[in-house]
């Protein structure tokens, strides 16, 4: 569960690079480089591509965000953080951010809880486990657009008499009190919007937790049982504490997906303002308003939000890998 399962073989300084002592420094460097230079050459196409298309583009985007190029045709002048500040002074941006936050909290919390619960139910083996696992994970293989098509039907907010989807089902089952506006509700609409995302990713969390549960040695569990722990106590005190890394990876994966959520919103709500999120706003800036600087500013905020918790996570993982001496 870390960057590399095994420490990559230390090739530097071994093999063909062994150097006789009495060589001149230049020659020594040359000979030694033979051990790693081919490797660098083989990776260089990718380094170039990643360099240009990830870091170069991020740099370009940042420059755009710091300029006043508000129409595609005009050249931009450097204006500092003006765009970053002015975004907060309009009505649409803070609302979009608020929506993304509600969505993230409900989605990440819901998927974690449901996924963890599914993993717990499956952990000790059950008849038909493979079928259940396949089934809970299947939504993962489907695009957010396809998910959106069916969930838009399910969460159709039409009133009871011409309701479709879940509202119709509730009426049918005499559960009228459950009939609601789903994602069109002004306050908690984004919580309903998180339901399809939970449906799609709970199986993923289940798979992660299941692998984690099964990685806890049976002797540890048995030892706790001998000490008089109940089955639940075994989970609570022995298994769960071992799963913090799994929990952390899950939060990172789901969280970074959630902040930039786009497809699902488009498929369910289109560009309706009630379900507006930063990624949809940015899209509108590019295709409708045609304001590159503003679009780039929104994109920069997305990048910052994701980087804020991904970078510490990456650094932490790499350090952990080193300290474990692998």
């Amino acid at each position: 569960m870390s960057v590399s399962e095994k420490r990559a073989g230390g090739a530097v300084g071994s093999g063909p690079g062994r150097v006789p002592a009495q060589m001149s420094p230049w020659r020594r460097a040359l000979v030694r480089s033979r051990s790693w230079l081919p490797g660098l050459l083989l990776v260089s196409p990718s380094i170039l591509l990643i360099g240009v298309f990830v870091y170069g583009m991020i740099g370009w985007n940042t420059r755009l965000a710091l300029s006043d190029r508000h129409r595609p045709v005009q050249e931009g002048e450097f204006v500092g953080l003006t765009n970053f500040v002015s975004l907060w002074q309009e009505a649409r941006w803070p609302a979009a951010v608020g929506n993304a936050v509600v969505f993230t909290v409900v989605f990440v919390g819901g998927a974690l809880l449901l996924g963890w619960f599914l993993g717990l139910l499956l952990d000790k083996g059950i008849r038909g486990e493979a079928v259940f696992r396949t089934l809970f994970l299947a939504p993962m293989a489907v695009s957010f657009i396809a998910t959106g098509v069916v969930w838009r039907w399910l969460m159709n907010p039409a009133p009871a008499e011409r309701a479709t989807g879940l509202n119709a089902l509730f009426v049918h089952l005499n559960l009228d009190f459950l009939v609601n506006d789903w994602w069109t509700a002004p306050d908690l609409g984004m919580a309903a919007m998180a339901l399809p995302a939970i449906w799609q990713l709970a199986g993923y969390v289940m798979a992660l937790f299941l692998a984690g549960f099964r990685g806890v040695p049976e002797e540890l569990r048995e030892a706790a049982r001998v000490d008089g722990c109940s089955e639940w106590g075994v989970y609570r005190h022995v298994v769960m504490p071992q799963l913090r890394p799994v929990l952390l990876s899950s939060v990172i994966i789901l969280g970074h997906m959630s902040l930039k959520v786009f497809d699902l919103i488009i498929a369910i709500a289109g560009q309706q303002i009630v379900a507006d999120v930063p990624a949809v706003y940015m899209w509108a800036m590019v295709f409708e308003v045609r304001d590159p600087a503003k679009g780039a500013t929104i994109a920069s905020y997305l990048l910052i939000a994701v980087a804020l918790f991904v970078v510490p996570y990456l650094v932490w993982s790499v350090r952990k890998e080193r300290s474990e001496g692998r």
């Binding site: 583009m57 449906w199 993923y204 990456l314």
Partner: protein, 284 residues
Amino acid sequence: MSTRATAVGERTGRARSGRMVRFVLLFALAVLFMLPMYVLLVTGFKPFDEATAARAWLPPQTWSVEGWAAAWQALAPGLRNSVMVAVPSAVLSAVLGSMNGYVMARWRFPGADTVFTLFLFGMFIPYQAVMIPLQQMLVGANLMGGLFPLILAHTVYGIPICTLIFRNYYASIPPALVEAARVDGAGMLRTYASVVLPVSAPAFAVTLIWQFTSAWNDFLFAVFLTGPNSWPVTVQLNNVAGSMVVPYNQQMAAAVLASLPTLVVYLVLGRFFMRGLMAGALKG
């Protein structure tokens, strides 16, 4: 002795009822999870006049393929485009990932760890942060229009995860194997071709499936980088579903059609799909 037997009996009895409860809960959750699938299939097979609110949850009275035929009509060009994008970009990023993973696991150069970490970050970035420059660059180079921009994007942004998967995979093959080839005087490429590649099939399966699935399901790059003639299936599906005039039977059939390739891959090659998922989680 007898009390002990009772205790054991009690314990197995409790275990059995516990298993029963878990099974019932799992079954109920499975039914809930399948609701959308039920809706998709049942609505897809309804004739047009049955795809109404009143009969929303009922199975079709007459089964019809009318929705499927219409959906196929609407999606065929998109399905073709998606194949033409997903297959080459999956192959390209898998090949690049294999070379990178090999070097980073077995033929390291000074700074390889830093380069690897920088690659990994590329896997997490919101693609919005590169989208406007990418679009401007492609327009400037006069490359917009066909499928090339999409193939390029999926290949390049697939490199990080492919590198990660191959690096972890190659780190698990015995170093002695590679060292032996080196001692025999085989160069980097010879070692790669004769020792490493022949055992790479599982990692290729994982990366190919992973990349195919994410390219197939992508919508973001597609809306920014393609036009009407090169729309992949996700964009066309969204157009079908987004227009108010398309009846539900056709929408649902279209959603199933657009998902079928990745679902089939998942059902047939689930084992490899799972490994890709796990690798995706465990970056760093």
